[in-house]
Symmetry: C2
Subunit: 297 residues, 2 copies
């Protein structure tokens, strides 16, 4: 079992309108997740708006989280950025601030070639001794990993895991089997896209990189535990209860829903970084209903 196994909870990073991280807020959120038994915290993931925060503020967020959860819950830190040298510096920062592992997406402006992405990962893996998870997230990076690239990356020292995006419904079992029977199989293989979590967990994926886990850690953890106990009936019950939440994730993007939910649960009053707008009050009411369905459990 590596730090990339089990439930990895991805919280928002509370910050003010100028992108200054609210370190007290980070401590409160990460303490809440840790106390509720998540297996790791995915700080500065997409939901943690890493792409919108400066290097200094990213350091401040890691320091605050480390102060809170060190020795209790492993800290996985997102280090994605456009330039290779900047990503190397973020990897060094994360290690210096106490991260247990790294997560990196091939953030793109000019669309990258497969070879460019390979060299980018190689250059970053070379400056760290922390285990690194490949963050495969075409919905934000618009980069598609070929199977061949994933296999080449799996051979690099320090590359320990891959965070896969949700495939079409019903396709996880086959994809996972294909990955496991290839050189990619030496990596821990986890999924994001919370709506396929039930399917991915029952298919035996190693980890769930979860937005839900960032605001309803107990529920997300219960689902993972049920899957580990091969209790398909319980997993599917959770899935049914969560259906309205997943529908909102798909409609608005999980980031906007996460902010609304965290506001409603009074875990933080932070708002997303502009240009991303908070949900309208009408849409927030739908998030409230979805939360009620979950907490009625």
């Amino acid at each position: 079992m590596s730090i990339f196994h089990g439930l990895s909870a991805f919280p928002i990073t509370p910050a003010n309108e100028h992108g200054v991280v609210d370190t007290e807020g980070v401590m409160r959120l990460t303490a809440h997740l840790s106390a509720n038994g998540v297996d790791s915290i995915g700080l500065l993931g997409s939901t943690g708006t890493y792409a919108y925060l400066s290097r200094t503020e990213r350091c401040r967020a890691i320091r605050a989280a480390f102060k809170t959860v060190a020795g209790k819950t492993p800290l996985i830190v997102g280090i994605g950025t456009l330039r290779t040298d900047d990503a190397q510096n973020l990897a060094r920062d994360a290690a210096a601030e106490g991260a247990d592992g790294l997560l990196m997406a091939p953030v793109s402006y000019t669309p990258l070639t497969q070879e460019e992405a390979y060299q980018h990962y190689k250059a970053v893996a070379e400056v760290t001794s922390l285990p690194l998870c490949i963050y495969n997230n075409p919905s934000t990076t618009h980069f598609s990993f070929s199977r061949d690239l994933l296999e080449r990356l799996a051979d690099l020292p320090n590359i320990a895991a891959v965070k896969m995006p949700a495939p079409a419904e019903g396709a996880v079992l086959q994809e996972l089997a294909a990955l496991r029977s290839s050189p990619v199989g030496k990596l821990a293989i986890g999924y994001s896209g919370d709506w396929i979590a039930a399917e991915a967990l029952l298919a035996g994926s190693d980890g769930w990189f979860s937005v839900l886990g960032g605001f309803l850690p107990k529920l997300a953890k219960a689902m993972v535990t049920a899957a580990h106990e091969s209790d398909a009936r319980a997993v599917n019950q959770y899935q049914q209860v969560l259906e309205p939440m997943w529908a909102l994730f798909r409609e608005f993007g999980s980031l906007r829903v996460a902010y609304a939910a965290i506001n409603l649960l009074e875990l933080s009053s932070a708002q997303p970084p502009r240009p991303i707008l908070p949900l309208t009050s009408q849409d927030r009411r739908r998030v409230e209903d979805a939360l009620k369905a979950c907490t009625a459990l």
Copy 2:
């Protein structure tokens, strides 16, 4: 005629491996473009790797260009970035450093809604008195402007132009007519995607936002002049000569080809920012052949 009419040449921004702009190199390149009669210089466009340069370095690049071309050639400056407050600051910087106009793409990580993009442009247009060109570039931003959004943006004060991406071959005339007969028609409408330049120019587009113009300004300008004289035969001759160049643009992305061409023409020895890799020596030979075809004219 606004600064967004005619040939806008988009040079690379020479910088070292750490992203420090070579201001002498910027001065040399912009002087070359100005001396060869381009109608404007599009500094810090996608080809100018704006997305890969810090705020400080972007300021240094503008200052160097302004010093070189002020009073000779209008300077359009790219101010795209993820955060709205950062884009506002870049707009202020560009004005302070002497820009004549601004160009802004809806740079995205979390995919933006139409309303978020609208508010982003509105907030930036409000802090500047410079004319702003909407940079519609789905190949890098993955954001698609709806017609409705373009119409709303056209109504904002300071928004003066739109840089459209290449539509399917043969579709420019119809698209341009549709845009001109809508509220978008009050904007100057130019095209990027150099391979459709001949078609767009003959269709009567207002501007050509040109990568080619950044390294072969004389040839690009000759093509624009021929189009303005309605000399379709001459335009199509240029187009034929440029076909191998356009094929390379499509195969490798125009950015990588521009660096190779600029190196081969000895205008600069700068390399693209990592993770973007220079073309292999084999591919550079193909760029050399395409250049020879052009310069044989």
